[in-house]
């Protein structure tokens, strides 16, 4: 077995050693319930508040605007169901895009079954929508616009600030799923003019099972969980203090290294492309070439079949994916690529996603590129 090269950081990322240290210590030291009135509880509460303030600062929000959740999916669900149920008397129209994460799309589909109307904006061949499309789709009864920041499969970044500016003139709540972009893209909720923003820890070398929803002061949200009065009664359940502390540490590290990592990841993209070119394999890149996340590279290799391609790559130690993780033998083609290229496009069966993160070096990426090219040659010969 060859050494494995992990190029699937957009699926999930390894926890940074510093984060493990902080979390292990917190598990030992902050065993209290942050809602308890006694010493141990107060200690946990202080640690929680510090982490909340630190994370809030990363998106230029107030600490009171951060609601901790079990991760990105819950943050997205809270944003969508929470807004829909809170504002359904004002209207039942929602605008989103065809390339959202399933945490958004399936939530919207559920609301459609409940009588809401959802407009799914089509994207262009690069996976992008324009602010103009949002403007045209807006109706008097539009209560929510939910558009992802950067796409997890192809990396394309949406013009969130432009859309935010347009929505300034409209009462609709504006949500962005920033799960894949947070930690690399500079994020300022004021500048973006968003009301809700979802973030997850495990995409930025933090632990799984923790995330937050930024909810601008005054934004109307109905609870989706009921119980205790944690998170200002917006999200019941004892806060996972060690994970939250670790989340804050991961975000801190991400902020410190963002600039250098962006440069490094762009370098990785060039290394892979160069390897494919040197090997003479046919390929093309998917996604927007400029407005794109630095750590995601989606590539079509014409003539390959993604199913056996991925298995071959795994056996060669190149760990990548074909977009979102799939279940038992599922061949549901990527809805993102379908939206970009159409239902029967060859890209649907021949594209894989490389995504970068902690632990990779130029040499490893070069080796992965070589191995990939060899397999492509074998499968297309």
């Amino acid at each position: 077995m060859k050494n494995t090269i992990y190029l699937d950081h957009a699926a999930t990322s390894p926890i940074a050693p510093e984060v493990i240290d902080v979390m292990a210590r917190a598990m030992a030291e902050e065993s209290g319930n942050a809602s308890s009135i006694h010493t141990v509880g107060r200690s946990a509460r202080k640690a929680l508040d510090d982490a909340r303030a630190s994370l809030a600062a990363k998106v230029n929000a107030k600490p009171s605007e951060i609601i901790f959740t079990s991760g990105g999916t819950e943050a997205d669900n809270m944003a969508i169901f929470g807004t829909a149920y809170a504002r359904q008397k004002e209207g039942k129209h929602i605008i989103t895009t065809a390339i959202e994460h399933h945490a958004v799309l399936h939530a919207c589909e559920k609301l459609e079954k409940e009588g809401f109307t959802v407009t799914y904006l089509p994207v262009d061949k690069t996976g992008r929508i324009s602010a103009e499309q949002v403007k045209e789709a807006l109706r008097d009864d539009t209560i929510l616009v939910t558009i992802m920041y950067g796409n997890n499969e192809v990396g394309t970044i949406q013009p969130i600030a432009e859309i935010g500016a347009i929505l300034k003139e409209h009462s609709a709540t504006f949500h962005t799923d920033a799960v894949q972009a947070f930690g690399l893209e500079k994020m300022d909720v004021e500048a973006l003019q968003v009301d809700l923003l979802s973030v997850s820890a495990h995409k930025i070398n933090g632990p799984k099972g923790i995330g937050f929803l930024y909810a601008k002061t005054g934004v109307k949200l109905t609870n989706i969980l009921y119980g205790g009065s944690q998170e200002k009664k917006r999200r019941a359940g004892t806060e996972n203090v060690p994970a939250i502390i670790a989340f804050a540490k991961a975000a801190e590290l991400a902020g410190q290294t963002a600039h250098q990592r962006i440069e490094q990841y762009n370098g990785f993209k060039n290394i892979l492309i160069e390897q494919f070119q040197l090997a003479g394999v046919k390929f093309h890149l998917n996604g927007h070439q400029k407005s794109v996340l630095p750590h995601v590279l989606n590539v079509t290799f014409p003539g390959t079949d993604v199913e056996s391609f991925l298995i071959n790559l795994d056996m060669a130690g190149v760990l990548v994916s074909s977009g979102s993780a799939c279940t038992a033998g599922s061949i549901d083609p990527s809805h993102v690529l379908v939206a970009m290229y159409g239902q029967n496009a060859p890209e649907l069966r021949s594209s894989i996603r490389f995504s970068f993160g902690l632990g990779l070096t130029d040499e490893l990426v070069q080796e992965a590129g070589k191995r990939t090219a060899e397999i492509v040659k074998r499968l297309t010969s």
Binding site: E307, S308, N312, A328, S330, L379
Partner: protein, 372 residues
């Protein structure tokens, strides 16, 4: 070819269904030191209104077993190929009034063709499955032998495999009786050790057959008649009945029970007759199409034994191969309920010679027009 390499140098892809047989097959291969990869094939989407799909549960079992054994696992999807090559054929045969055998077709077109190709593309030297059958290699090539467990022998379903396919195939549990397979699974603590065997046609599973078929083919109710033209009731659609069937006719009255003895597609009439041994159910010869041999193709006339249904006792037969590749097969003794669409499979002792699809059915050299 007789294998001489060390097992560790031989990559075997094992098709895993999530059942005990393929689990034990994978376990034994790993014990023998092969480079084993477990692959789950998804051929059919039976996701229900609650999003529950039995394939997901079966794949979870595959994952559990592979983790216990310590082999990598993957899932591949052949839904489209299965639909095109197996299910379409299945429906066409029913429309034509025959009783198809989708498992034979699945083995021929999917498991030992599309899936075999997939395995080879992964660098596999062999494809293994948990079938009860054996492959014997000698200087003359390859032979397919019956599974040791006569009760479980699955060569009937594998009759269309050719020597080119068999050269690349392993059946790791073919030399074991089923109780032994269960015992190995239990001793190894495999997650599927106590899992119930699947029954019926894979894509129908435990569901009601009539209800399933009615989703795809329009049913045309018609009369049930005796050969004398006496109307005994109505049938729900000819496709729901097979020759020799007793259940579901709903004809009461005195005397022996009633059986399906024939079909008239043109008049949409189901012929019924009294008695398990009704004369019309017996025939003494058949013609078979799509004849295929596991070894060298036979020509001329030869004697051997045959099965006309899964798990039936062998019957002595005389086979005459005709120039167009079809076969005329005469039985030493009359046989009951020979059914067009089912497989006729030939044996020489332990060896499965191959087989074909039953087309015409004959008695006293005359074709029985009423059997569909």
């Amino acid at each position: 070819m007789v294998e001489t390499r060390d097992p560790s140098q031989i990559r075997v892809v094992i098709g895993m269904s999530g059942g005990v047989d393929s689990s034990v097959a994978a376990y034994l291969l790993k014990q023998q030191g092969y480079d084993v990869i477990g692959i789950f094939m998804k051929n059919w989407d039976d996701t229900d209104e609650f999003g529950v799909c039995t394939a997901t549960e079966d794949y979870d079992d595959v994952i559990a077993v592979c983790n216990q054994i310590g082999i990598p696992y993957y899932a591949v999807n052949f839904e489209k190929q299965y639909w095109d090559k197996v299910f379409t054929y299945f429906l066409e045969e029913y429309k034509a009034g025959r009783t198809p055998n989708p498992d034979v077709m699945c083995n021929k077109e999917i498991k030992f063709k599309a899936f075999l190709e997939h395995a080879l593309a992964l660098g596999a030297d062999y494809l293994a499955t948990g079938h009860y059958a054996r492959v014997a290699h000698d200087e003359n090539g390859v032979k397919m032998l019956r599974g040791i467990d006569n009760n479980k022998d699955q060569t009937y379903f594998l009759n269309q495999l050719t020597s080119e396919q068999l050269e690349k195939v392993m059946f790791p549990i073919g030399h074991l009786p089923k109780p032994e397979v269960r015992k190995i699974a239990e001793e190894a603590g495999l997650a599927t050790a106590k899992k119930k065997d699947s029954t019926g046609i894979c894509f129908i599973g435990e569901r009601n057959f009539k209800e399933f078929l009615s989703q795809y083919l329009p049913a045309q109710p018609g009369n049930m008649e005796t050969f004398d033209g006496e109307v005994k009731g109505t049938h729900d659609g000819l496709m729901y009945y097979t020759l020799g069937q007793r259940h579901g006719l709903g004809i009461g009255g005195d005397g022996e029970p009633w059986f399906v003895v024939g079909k008239d597609l043109k008049r949409n009439v189901l012929y019924v007759g009294q008695g398990f041994h009704h004369d019309a159910l017996y025939s003494d010869a058949l013609t078979a199409v799509k004849m295929s041999f596991t070894g060298e193709a036979r020509t001329g006339t030869f004697n051997c034994t045959a099965k006309f249904r899964y798990r039936q006792e062998d019957s002595p037969v005389t086979v005459t191969m005709r120039e167009d590749g079809t076969a005329y097969i005469e039985f030493a003794e009359p046989v009951r309920a020979i059914t067009p669409g089912q497989a006729v499979v030939l044996y020489d002792g332990e060896e499965c010679l191959g087989g074909g699809t039953i087309d015409g059915v004959f008695k006293n050299s005359e074709q029985l027009t009423y059997v569909g």
